[in-house]
């Protein structure tokens, strides 16, 4: 085949241009750390990465819900723990007041003390989260669920949150668990005991003592339910952390550059470029007219 001088130069030039482009591409990948910068660089890898990012976004949404709920459950648990302590203290004072060794004045003093403890228990029953939502109101969570007399005005609704893309977990404790629906109306019971002591009302006081045991058990049961929910959330958090790490690694594999391989490719491409430049120079010098 007849090869003209111009053809030789064109071939050498095209080779140099191609090698330059390869060096440029690999350098850009190494600099940016990305192998796939536009979807058409590798449509399959890009699609896989984007699908993983969507799953990651949903997982992160669930994760944020779980984190918020876990924090609220802790506050709820602390409040229930305080209520449990208060009910135990009130039980002790009520037993003392029921003793024949106490007179009306003694009982009045105990009544004032129990009244103060009742107020503290009420404050815990009307505990709020960081955003001001009342934690024990069920779905009626924008107003205090327990009034001044300790009567419950919330509902039995328990909130669930997505713990992953397909499952939900119950994450609230309704104040209904502290009402007669689950045993006794705990808060009115404490108020009744305070009043009975203040008024030296022995029959009422004696009738309330067994209910205090029930109240202690109700609060304990509510705490254990909250504890179980916290455990469940902790497990989903642990699983999700691993899953999201796997997703991040997968996305990296799909679209990020393998630095070691890319550095090797750059070295090879650079060498090819040097060779093609040397060949171009040689061809040009060979074809130059002799003087």
């Amino acid at each position: 085949m007849r090869i003209t001088g111009n053809r030789m130069i064109d071939l050498a030039s095209a080779s140099t241009t191609k090698n330059q482009a390869t060096v440029g591409t690999v350098s850009a990948q190494l600099t940016s750390g990305m192998r796939v910068t536009t979807p058409s660089d590798d449509p399959t890898a890009w699609l896989a990465a984007q699908r993983t990012k969507m799953r990651q976004a949903l997982s992160q949404g669930s994760g944020a819900a779980v984190t918020t709920s876990r924090e609220r459950l802790e506050v709820s648990d602390n409040s229930l723990a305080s209520m449990g302590d208060i009910v135990s203290q009130i039980r002790t004072l009520a037993v003392q007041g029921a003793s024949d060794t106490y007179n009306a004045n003694n009982r009045a003093g105990l009544g004032a003390e129990v009244q103060g403890l009742f107020q503290a228990a009420l404050d815990n029953a009307n505990a709020q989260g960081n955003d001001g939502e009342f934690l024990f109101g069920g779905s009626a969570s924008t107003t205090p669920p327990f009034d001044a007399a300790g009567v419950y005005h919330g509902d039995a609704n328990v909130r669930s949150v997505p713990s992953n893309a397909s499952l939900t977990t119950a994450v609230t404790i309704s104040g209904a668990s502290l009402t007669a629906a689950q045993g006794v109306d705990v808060m009115p019971l404490l108020s009744r005991i305070a009043t009975a002591l203040s008024n030296n009302d022995m029959p009422t006081l004696l009738a309330a003592l067994p209910d205090l045991d029930t109240a202690v058990k109700q609060i304990s049961l509510a705490r254990s339910q909250g504890g179980a929910a916290m455990n469940a959330l902790d497990q989903t958090t642990a699983a999700r952390t691993v899953l999201e790490q796997d997703m991040t690694a997968a996305i990296s594999r799909y679209v990020e550059v393998d630095s070691v391989a890319a550095a090797s490719d750059l070295a090879k491409a650079s060498q090819s470029l040097e060779v093609s430049r040397a060949v171009s120079s040689h061809i040009i010098s060979v074809l130059a007219p002799s003087t």
């Binding site: 001088g5 053809r7 058409s40 890009w46 990012k53 969507m54 949404g61 918020t68 009626a140 997505p162």
Partner: protein, 444 residues
């Protein structure tokens, strides 16, 4: 003596021929780098006329390959721009859909929290903004392709006239330079419209588009007109020859115009349709859940997005419900008839993320959004491959042409030296014969 005169004629003719050879070799060297130049050789010695070294079949193949390469390059470039429009410059629609559902999931844990509600509404507005922006980009891509079609049709008409003029010049003189010029014009015309140029028995070139419409018939050029189709609002391409008009929009399958027609009528149209479908599906699926649930005020029946009645145009008209956009308390995260702290509505909205509510119930919203970009990306990747393939074919044909018709300066310098020596020898021959004649005449 009469033999001496005839020898003188022979010598004179030979010298003229060698001088023609010198002229041809010099012309070859001068045009070594002229695009489309075919090297010439001394043909008929007696006439001294140059002969063009080329092959019509190869020229035809080069013109066809040029059309294919131009089409591939234009198509790849257009797809690259469209890819930037649907996927570049920020979060993609699928990412914005993911962000919206992520915020809904977060709000499910704190449905009465204004910050969480505001975040959901903000994510919805971002999604709407993203869809509208991509729709505008797709629309711009359509307009840009249309403009290029019109501009290239005007250029093609001008080249058709030039080709007809070149045919006239070839008919008059058969000059190799005119033949080279004609081939060059045909190649450039092919880069615009594809088609084929053929040389008929009368030596005239006819340029025929895919589908059979004749753009240049010897010395008679037609016009390639790009006029607005009233039904679609975009350009249709017609070959106009006097009173006759022939629509070739669907027929042109090569060149830059072919690329832009395919891009506009297939890829852009598909992207626009899919974008409208995704916007419509987002509106209808989320509204269906939202209207069934209640805001903080306990009122249900409100849409999340402004309701849409048809798919066409949904992408550019999608909008967050104005009342909701102004007040996130209206975000329906609770079941109707329950308190504000209920989050059944939020859970229902979150579950839409994994339900197949898009594309006629065949995919999720996220996958439907991904399909828009993926389709363009696959086409773009294939187009890049086509450019490489067509580039190799063109380059190979260019190599064959150069081998046959290209000027090798070393070869021409050798020829030049040969002709110069022959011319010098003929000059001495003529001088010798002249001397002999002179002696004979002096002795008469």
């Amino acid at each position: 003596m009469s033999d001496l005169f005839s020898l003188l004629s022979v010598g004179s003719n030979a010298m003229a021929a060698q001088n023609s050879g010198i002229s041809i070799a010099t012309n070859n060297v001068a045009n070594a780098n002229t695009e489309g130049y075919s090297r010439q050789r001394l043909g008929d010695v007696s006439s001294g006329q140059p002969v063009r070294i080329q092959d019509n079949l190869l020229s035809g193949q080069i013109q066809t390959a040029a059309g294919s390469l131009a089409m591939s390059q234009a198509f790849a470039e257009a797809l690259s721009a469209l890819e930037g429009g649907v996927a570049g410059g920020g979060a993609t629609i699928d990412e914005q859909i993911g962000a919206l559902f992520s915020k809904v999931g977060q709000a499910a844990a704190a449905p009465t929290d204004s910050a969480s509600r505001d975040a959901v509404v903000a994510a919805a507005r971002a999604l709407v903004g993203g869809i509208q922006r991509r729709a505008a980009e797709v629309s711009e891509a359509r307009k840009a392709a249309d403009t290029r079609i019109r501009d290239n049709a005007t250029q093609a008409t001008a080249l058709a006239k030039q080709l007809a003029a070149a045919n006239t010049a070839v008919a008059k003189s058969g000059d190799p330079a005119a033949l080279d010029q004609r081939d060059k014009i045909a190649k450039h015309l092919g880069e615009l419209v594809g088609g084929k140029a053929r040389i008929d028995h009368d030596g005239q070139m006819r340029f025929v588009l895919d589908g059979g419409a004749v753009l240049v018939d010897g010395t008679h050029p037609a016009t390639l007109a790009a006029t607005t189709d009233p039904a679609t609002g975009v350009a249709r391409v017609e070959v106009v020859n006097g009173a006759a008009r022939r629509d070739v929009t669907a027929a042109i399958g090569g060149g830059k115009i072919g690329a832009d027609l395919k891009f506009r009528d297939q890829n852009v149209a598909q992207a626009a349709t899919k974008l409208d479908q995704v916007a419509f599906d987002i509106t209808t699926s989320l509204n269906a859940v939202h209207t069934a649930n209640a805001g903080l005020d306990g009122v249900s029946g409100r849409p999340m997005f402004t309701p849409q009645t048809q798919v066409a145009g949904a992408a550019s008209s999608i909008a967050v419900d104005p009342a909701l956009a102004a007040d996130s308390k209206l975000l329906a995260l609770a079941a109707p008839g329950t308190g504000a702290g209920n989050n059944a509505g939020a859970l229902a909205l979150f579950s839409v993320a994994t339900q197949k509510v898009a594309s006629g119930g065949t995919s999720t919203l996220g996958d439907a959004a991904l399909d828009i970009v993926s389709s363009v990306a696959v086409a773009g990747s294939n187009a890049k491959g086509d450019v490489t393939r067509d580039g190799l074919v063109s380059d190979n044909l260019a190599g064959l042409r150069d081998s046959l018709s290209g000027v090798d300066t070393q070869e021409e310098l050798t020829n030049l030296a040969r002709f110069e020596h022959a011319s010098t020898a003929m000059a001495k021959f003529v001088s010798t014969i002249d001397g002999m004649l002179g002696s004979l005449i002096d002795n008469l």
